[in-house]
């Protein structure tokens, strides 16, 4: 057994219950991919959510299309924790191939709903087993044999509803929502769920402690994945040119962008589009197109994952140096190279921050929630145009592709910030126009857009050396002046990007720093550290690079500061070391999680306790 498994057993002991466990457990559905369990799982998740109970869903899928083991985990948490919890309390075992191993990972006392033919009972005697004859049941509700495979999964929803106390009307409601336009399919599926419910009612006796009870914690809230949230943000940011090359886990961002744009940005009368979305031939072309569009004045973006980021390196430097606004979404997955495409990580931080050869420094936004996927998308377009530079939005597979509960998104109040663009009339008013001159002392020059017919508007854009008038120059002084201005611009951005979110605890000697999805594990870890180990902590969540000066102050106010992240090399830890004074750097410690699964509170707590010398 891997060390991880032992750890699971331990956590289990800590949390082992003796009585009813209400709204605080982990359900895992083990199927094979391509078997159509997605609907059943979503309906299950939503039904609990509709009962006012906080949930989160995580899909762990292999890098192929059909026939391999897949796990969908639903965390039910009355405290509203959204991080991945490792221990599993409830297993729905549909996949014979993984069932054995799945069983051995369960907490003692866990419940197992399994296909009747699978004889699992002999494996462990500390579990509660519920056998269900799925095939027989589906035959009764679904006369068309071809459809049975698709409907079969809905049966376990019914079984669980009965066993856990999920209300059937909520199952039906969420089912009908899923099949809005296909009432027949909804009926068929609901019949399957009912068959499961009835079977459980008749044949199964509740012998486990897990229960769902109505609460009032999800009212008004939504469930959405980060990629859809980001796409929505782009729509409201007024994106006009979006380019992409398919890659997991980023594809669904542009795919839902297309859906939203078709819905809200096609002229009702003419049928014409106020946007262009292009599936490029590769990532080099995707960024090239976005740069061309940004140069010409469009709000332009592309979306990719690690391998694409690597391929975009040259163009990213070009955009930095020729000062073209463009938004780049990096939905991070495990690297390096082509990596494990269906596993999550935060390991592109260093490469994105310095992407391209030469002296290059980029702005990164670090959304931690689906809400920030939305708001940072808006922010990204504004920043890109304000600073005339690429802006990277660093999401990840966990955030981008999983279902997250959230407050609804607020309609943006700020108008577009289109940056220092000079119109023809403005050119008439100014004496001189030098494309790359630092007129305002903030490093940000003025630009004109192609299409501006003023005789002084046009300029020649190049990656190579130029003077303030955008004229080719190899003069050392021109080169240095330009490089220094670019550095100054980056310093201006430091003050302008989203500031860290700080939760200061005046009693705390220990500080925690995290960003992106590591946030959720940290939130829960802090509670655990306090509850179980009396360790008070403060917390700073980074929301952007360049790092704001508040970060350094935060570090100085604490004795030891843990940087929590999901990569092997402690990339943000390193970035922070570069930015803060060595006195502050002395206090930094690194907490890293990099096995491809979303970071769990347990791994954070364990690493902090070990480094604090607490056990």
């Amino acid at each position: 057994m891997a060390p991880l498994d032992l750890a699971v057993q331990e956590e289990e002991k800590l949390s082992k219950p003796t009585e009813k466990i209400i709204n605080d457990f982990n359900i895992q559905v083990a199927t094979v991919n391509g078997s159509g369990s997605q609907t059943a799982n979503t309906v299950l998740l939503r039904s609990i959510f509709q009962m006012g109970v906080p949930v989160s869903g995580k899909n762990l899928f292999p890098s192929n299309i059909a026939g391999l083991p897949t796990w969908f985990t639903i965390r039910v948490s009355k405290k509203g924790y959204l991080a991945r919890r490792e221990a599993i309390d409830i297993l729905v075992a549909m996949n014979p191939e993984s069932a054995r191993e799945d069983i051995f990972k369960l907490v003692s006392g866990a419940m197992v709903v399994h296909d009747e033919p699978l004889s699992l009972k002999s494996l462990r005697d500390d579990l509660v087993y519920y056998a269900v004859p799925f095939d027989k049941l589906v035959a009764t509700v679904c006369p068309d044999a071809k459809l049975r495979r698709l409907v079969k999964n809905m049966i376990y929803d019914g079984v669980l509803a009965k066993l856990l106390g999920i209300e059937m009307p909520e199952i039906e409601k969420s089912l009908r929502k899923q099949f809005r336009k296909k009432p027949k399919a909804a009926d068929l599926n609901f019949n399957a769920a009912k068959a499961g419910y009835e079977y459980a009612e008749k044949h199964l006796t509740k012998a486990d402690p897990y229960v769902v009870e109505r609460m009032d914690l999800t009212k008004g809230k939504i469930i959405i994945d980060g990629n859809s949230a980001a796409a929505l943000g782009c729509v409201f940011a007024g994106v006009t040119v979006a380019t992409w090359y398919p890659i997991t886990p980023s594809s669904s961002l542009c795919e839902s962008l297309i859906e939203y744009l078709k819905r809200y940005r096609v002229d009702k009368e003419t049928g014409k589009a106020s946007f262009a979305v292009v599936q490029a031939e590769d990532e080099l072309a995707a960024l090239g197109m976005a740069i061309g569009a940004g140069w010409a004045g469009a709000r332009a973006m592309t979306s990719t994952s690690g391998p694409g980021i690597s391929l975009m390196a040259e163009f990213a430097g070009f955009a930095y140096y020729s000062e073209v606004p463009v938004v780049i979404f990096d939905i991070q997955r495990v690297g390096p190279s082509t990596g494990l495409p269906t596993r999550t990580s935060q390991s592109d931080i260093l490469s994105a921050a310095f992407l391209s050869h030469g002296d290059t420094k980029h702005i990164l936004l670090l959304p931690a929630s689906v809400e920030e996927c939305f708001t940072f998308s808006l922010e990204a377009f504004d920043l890109a145009e304000e600073f005339q530079t690429p802006v990277f939005v660093m999401s990840d597979l966990d955030l981008g592709m999983n279902n997250w509960m959230s407050d609804p998104f607020q309609y943006p109040t700020k108008p577009f910030h289109r940056g220092k663009v000079l119109s023809g009339e403005e050119l008439d008013r100014v004496k001189e126009f030098a494309r790359y001159r630092d007129v305002d002392g903030d490093g940000i020059p003025y630009r004109t857009l192609p299409g501006n017919h003023h005789p002084r508007a046009p300029f020649f854009t190049r990656g190579s050396g130029h003077n303030e008038w955008a004229i080719y120059s190899e003069r050392p002084d021109d080169y240095v002046r330009n490089m220094d201005r670019l550095a100054r611009k980056y310093e201006t951005a430091r003050q302008r990007v989203p500031t860290p979110a700080i939760d200061e605890n005046s009693k705390a000697k220990v500080g925690l720093i995290a960003y992106g999805t590591s946030h959720w594990a940290v939130v829960e870890s802090r509670d655990r550290l306090l509850a179980a180990h009396d360790l008070e902590t403060s917390y700073l969540r980074l929301r952007a690079v360049p790092l704001n000066h508040e970060l350094e102050d935060f570090i100085r106010r604490h004795d030891r500061v843990y940087v929590v992240e999901q990569n092997r090399d402690g990339q943000m830890h390193d970035l922070i070391r570069l930015e803060v004074e060595p006195e502050a750097a002395l206090k930094l410690r690194s907490v890293r999680h990099y096995n491809g699964l979303p970071i769990s509170p347990r791994s954070v707590v364990e690493q902090i306790l070990a480094q604090e010398g607490i056990d």
């Binding site: 014409k272 262009a276 004045g297 469009a298 299409g451 190899e474």
Partner: protein
């Protein structure tokens, strides 16, 4: 040590069609092409302010600095100009887009983007200034160097040349032509026809590199071209004529109506030749290649195909200048989506 002077001198404002002083070698074919570009836009009366210039990297790709100083321009990275042009054109459909590339920039590092640009029928005039070598990096062979030709340093090229015109015809391009930098009349006429075309107008212009490729054994040198050039079509540009049909008999002349209403006249030297048939174009090109001849003229023309802007069904106004009112959906839209997610 001396500081370095500003290169090149700032453009003269007096003639907006001209550019700054060329820094290419004296006698470089690319300079002649720049001259023809100036003539073409001038004669068509297209204001430089309406033109956007795109290029990659190479001697050829530098040349947009040497014409139309009153146009916006972007000198992108090596081999990847088509993507930059694509984005810019989508952002502003009102451009006259002009791309200038080299054979290395297009056929070696850039062949991928070239192929996909052609598939999209991007509205752009795309000129390959084709000398068979990498001029700017001092004369290595590019992928259009003829098999068997010898470089100045004595190296022989053993790989077959890519015929960018045949490739373009096969891939579905809608305007495919070849000319020679020294042939003022034909090049000017083809350029004017290309500018009037809606879709990708791809012109391979044989443009000798006087420094690294003007020697025996190279089919891209002046002397070779002068000996072997065999004009296929005589192209005369006639603005605003009314004929539309391109169904015409071998041995005669045809006048094809272009999108802006202007026309291009094609003379069929070969009675079998039909400028609207990809198959004939491909056959002629291959035949010429087998005979080691350079055919010039417009090989293929399709004035009916949708360009990329039409395929994407974009609004008439440039995307780049749409106001926030049109780009940000109203509060109700967000409310609607939020409701669905509850």
């Amino acid at each position: 040590m001396s500081t370095i002077t500003i290169l090149p001198a700032p453009p003269k404002k007096t003639n907006v069609y001209r550019g700054s002083k060329t820094t290419l070698c004296a006698g470089c074919g690319h300079n002649a092409i720049s001259e023809r570009i100036i003539d073409a836009f001038f004669e068509l009366g297209i204001e430089p302010a309406r033109v956007a210039k795109f290029s990659g990297i190479g001697c050829s790709s530098k040349s947009p600095a040497y014409f139309l100083s009153q146009s916006f321009a972007i000198n992108a990275v090596h081999g990847r100009m088509p993507s930059v042009a694509t984005g810019a054109i989508l952002a502003n459909r009102n451009f006259f887009a002009l791309g200038v590339s080299g054979d290395g920039d297009t056929a070696s590092i850039g062949i991928g983007q070239f192929v996909h640009m052609l598939r999209r029928n991007l509205p752009i005039v795309y000129i390959i200034e084709d000398n068979g070598v990498y001029g700017l990096t001092k004369g290595q062979f590019s992928a259009t160097a003829d098999a068997g030709s010898k470089s100045k340093s004595g190296v022989t090229n053993d790989l077959p040349a890519i015929d960018t015109c045949a490739l373009a015809v096969d891939l579905g391009a809608t305007f495919v032509a070849r000319s020679f930098s020294g042939d003022k009349k034909q090049l000017l006429a083809i350029l004017k026809a290309a500018i009037s075309h809606r879709g990708t107008a791809m012109i391979d212009v044989i443009s000798p590199c006087v420094t690294f490729n003007d020697h025996e054994g190279s089919t891209k040198s002046y002397s070779y071209v002068k000996d072997h050039e065999e004009p296929l079509t005589d192209v005369d540009y006639i603005p605003y004529f009314e004929n539309i049909d391109v169904d015409y008999d071998p041995g005669t002349t045809v006048s094809v109506r272009l999108h802006d209403g202007s026309h291009v006249r094609l003379r069929k030297l070969d009675p079998e030749y039909n400028p609207t048939s990809r198959r004939s174009a491909l056959n002629l090109l291959r035949e010429a290649r087998e005979k080691k001849e350079i055919l010039t003229g417009i090989f293929y023309l399709d004035t009916s195909a949708k360009d990329f802007i039409e395929i994407l069904d974009l609004v008439d106004e440039p995307l780049a200048s749409l106001p926030q009112e049109l780009l940000r959906p109203p509060q109700e839209a967000l409310d609607e989506v939020m409701e669905e997610l509850r």
